[in-house]
């Protein structure tokens, strides 16, 4: 191993790969076979966290950062003056195996700039995965990037070795894509997605008949959208996310606040703030859609095209729909409990179990970990004291904000700071 050379390449190619936010290593079902190396069974593990607080679970690198495209939002675009490098296939394999054996990582996340053409690039990515699986007997997690424009045949092969496949849609609107990535067509992104979805369905059906059907991308596929690069609304973002969840059976859609990496008139300038709060609100909405039984048009619609910044989307929904409340904690069904601000799905589960034994009061809820600060205005329980005043939405919001602290508060507070 030429240590210094590898070290330099790793620095360049890890740095270029870090804007991909997906780091999931969960949801796969690969067992360790024949006393080989590694497994990935269901629960993911975050082996470390970077100083920006993001999970490090996979060795996330580019095979190369040479690229024929010139997408404005991307740090490795053709016209950007950065150091370029490329890994050999064996080098990626060695790094992955040696990191894995030391329990640093759950597996490999391999992406790449596009050199020559999409198929040539995709072939090289598949070659790495194939070598890991067949020569090293590696059963850890592999996440491969689907290169936009790659052929169906290659997408089929990729799924045989990878646990997850993903292609990043990057810009939520078609018009935005035209503006920022003129060389790429919308179909280039959706074609690989469609192929993967169809293969997933086919394999699922075959497994019903023949149990030993090999696995095809057992952790499904995902995609990512940049927010804050074009002037899209939260409604645009969440409606296209919903579209991808439904149409392509995405396991996850990731939202990545745009980190300015280039000087370009079409984009926010370098040094402008990363929209982290907005990103956070979008993820909260995503969770409400996937786990809490909300429909996207309840939260975002033409009257409310953007999410509230000062309160979370569930609270915001509840404040607009006070006629559903208060909810009786001892009687309401699961569906309605999940809609109470301050109740998470874990608390809902505990409440459903506990109320079979006795009627619950505030004390019980508090001990279970319910955020009463928010929940108290929307609940009645086995207690005489509950919010009996007929409060307006604005009043409730004011009281909740007054009694809580948020780490982003200073970004949207309208009150002037006395000392600053």
């Amino acid at each position: 191993m030429n240590f210094e050379r590898i070290r330099e390449k790793l620095n360049i190619l890890a740095d270029a790969a870090k804007y991909d936010v997906s780091c999931a290593s969960s949801g796969s079902t690969r067992k360790n076979s024949k006393n080989g190396l590694g497994n990935s069974t269901g629960m993911g593990i975050c082996h470390s966290y970077t100083e920006d607080g993001r999970c490090v679970s996979l060795l996330k690198i580019l095979l190369t950062n040479y690229c024929i495209y010139d997408c404005a939002y991307c740090v490795t675009r053709k016209s950007n003056d950065v150091k370029r490098a490329a890994f050999k296939i064996q080098e990626v394999v060695d790094l992955t195996i040696n990191f894995y054996r030391r329990n640093y990582i759950e597996g490999l996340f391999l992406s790449s700039g596009i050199f020559k053409n999409p198929d040539y690039t995709m072939e090289r990515l598949i070659a790495v995965a194939k070598k890991l699986r067949e020569e090293e007997n590696f059963n850890g997690y592999i996440h491969l990037k689907s290169i936009p424009g790659a052929s169906d045949e290659l997408m089929y092969q990729a799924g045989l070795y990878a646990d997850r496949l993903s292609v990043n849609i990057e810009v939520p609107t078609v018009s935005g894509l035209k503006l920022l990535a003129p060389d790429k067509k919308h179909e280039d992104f959706t074609k690989p997605m469609l192929k993967v979805k169809n293969e997933l369905l086919r394999y699922k059906n075959e497994r019903k008949i023949i149990k030993s059907t090999p696995k095809y991308a057992p952790a499904g596929q995902s995609t990512q959208m940049i927010v804050g690069a074009t002037n899209e609304t939260d409604k645009d973002v969440m409606y296209s996310a919903t579209f991808y969840y439904k149409k392509y059976h995405m396991k996850r859609v990731y939202y990545s606040g745009y980190v300015p990496v280039a000087k370009d008139d079409r984009l926010p300038s370098i040094g402008s703030q990363v929209p982290m709060l907005r990103e956070n609100r979008l993820y909260q909405t995503d969770w409400l859609l996937r786990f809490y039984g909300f429909a996207v048009n309840e939260i975002l619609n033409n009257d409310y095209p953007n999410l509230d910044m000062d309160v979370d989307p569930k609270l915001s929904w509840a404040l607009r729909n006070l006629h559903h409340f208060p909810v009786d904690i001892n009687k309401a069904d699961k569906h309605m409990l999940a809609r109470v601000p301050g109740l998470g799905m874990l608390s809902v589960g505990k409440i459903l179990k506990a109320r079979q034994f006795r009627k619950l009061n505030w004390d019980h809820l508090k001990k279970m970990g319910v955020a009463l600060n928010r929940a108290q205005y929307f609940l009645v329980c086995d207690s005489k004291s509950w919010e009996q005043r007929d409060l307006e939405a604005e009043q409730i919001k004011g009281m909740i904000l007054q009694n809580s602290k948020g780490k982003f508060r200073k970004q949207y507070s309208q009150q002037l700071a006395l000392f600053n």
Binding site: I6, K18, N39
Partner: protein, 258 residues
């Protein structure tokens, strides 16, 4: 006043379950359950020494498991927290559990029940952390070695995970606080105790127990950790929340200078 008894057991989990069995069988009014190293006798209670009996322990284990699968794992996890007074708390928990008719659900509105499931949760969290934070270093003998210092006694819980995952390499995970470890020799896992001259945390000084190549990979990992960080999103508070400082000295990526 009814006579009460303090049960003394040998400190093993089976010993504890035997004590529970004895208490139920003899319908004792239990004042406390202690390990024999504690030796704190109560003023108004008699002592009874328990001899560990695997058969009896098994009957308690199976009895509880029949009631609820969640309960039996709660009990084992909470026991490994090694918290002072955990035995008597667990005894009350088992009493309550066996006393309820509905076995399907756990009563989260009961203080003992809630406390035990919270404790089990903390131990579970520590188990998960250890599955993440173990950092193997390759010794010259070809053994992947790691030392850890977990808050709770989680080695018995992580054994299966590492055996399944690293089936083709020899590894040794050593708990420096409790002075025992797990060694996998490609056949099976066994408990070992070592005479460690030094604790191998992430110091800069290179030990000659390890290969040079080992330090190269540590450097690469250290570099990777730095270059994957996005500076404009820095959030140190979140970072330390996920990776509490007490674990840092065993993490090679937190080494000051490589």
């Amino acid at each position: 006043m009814e006579k009460s008894t303090t049960l003394i057991y040998d400190g093993s989990f089976n010993g504890f379950l035997t004590a529970v069995f004895t208490a139920f069988e003899e319908r004792l009014n239990v004042a406390d359950i202690q390990t024999n190293s504690m030796g704190q006798s109560g003023l108004f209670s008699e002592n009874e020494t328990i001899f560990t009996n695997v058969e009896k322990a098994k009957r308690v284990w199976n009895g509880v498991r029949k009631k609820s699968h969640a309960a039996i794992s709660n009990i084992y996890f909470a026991y490994l927290s090694e918290m002072e007074g955990i035995e008597i708390l667990l005894f009350r928990y088992i009493q309550k559990l066996m006393g309820t008719k509905s076995s399907k659900h756990l009563d989260f509105s009961d203080d003992t029940m809630l406390r035990i499931s919270q404790l089990a949760r903390s131990v579970g969290r520590e188990k998960h952390r250890m599955e993440a934070f173990v950092r193997f270093q390759l010794t010259k003998d070809g053994i992947y070695f790691a030392n850890i210092e977990p808050d709770f006694n989680v080695l018995p819980l992580i054994s299966k995970h590492f055996r399944n995952r690293y089936a083709d390499q020899q590894w040794l995970i050593y708990d420096v606080k409790r002075k025992y470890g797990l060694f996998y020799d490609l056949e099976g896992v066994e408990l070992v105790s070592l005479n460690l001259n030094e604790i191998h945390f992430n110091k800069i000084h290179k030990s000659d127990a390890f290969l040079n190549e080992e330090y190269d990979y540590q450097t690469l990992w250290n570099d990777y950790f730095k270059s994957t960080n996005i500076k404009s999103r820095i959030n140190k508070k979140l970072h330390t929340q996920h990776v509490p400082k007490r674990y840092w000295k065993y993490l090679s990526e937190k080494k000051e200078t490589a």
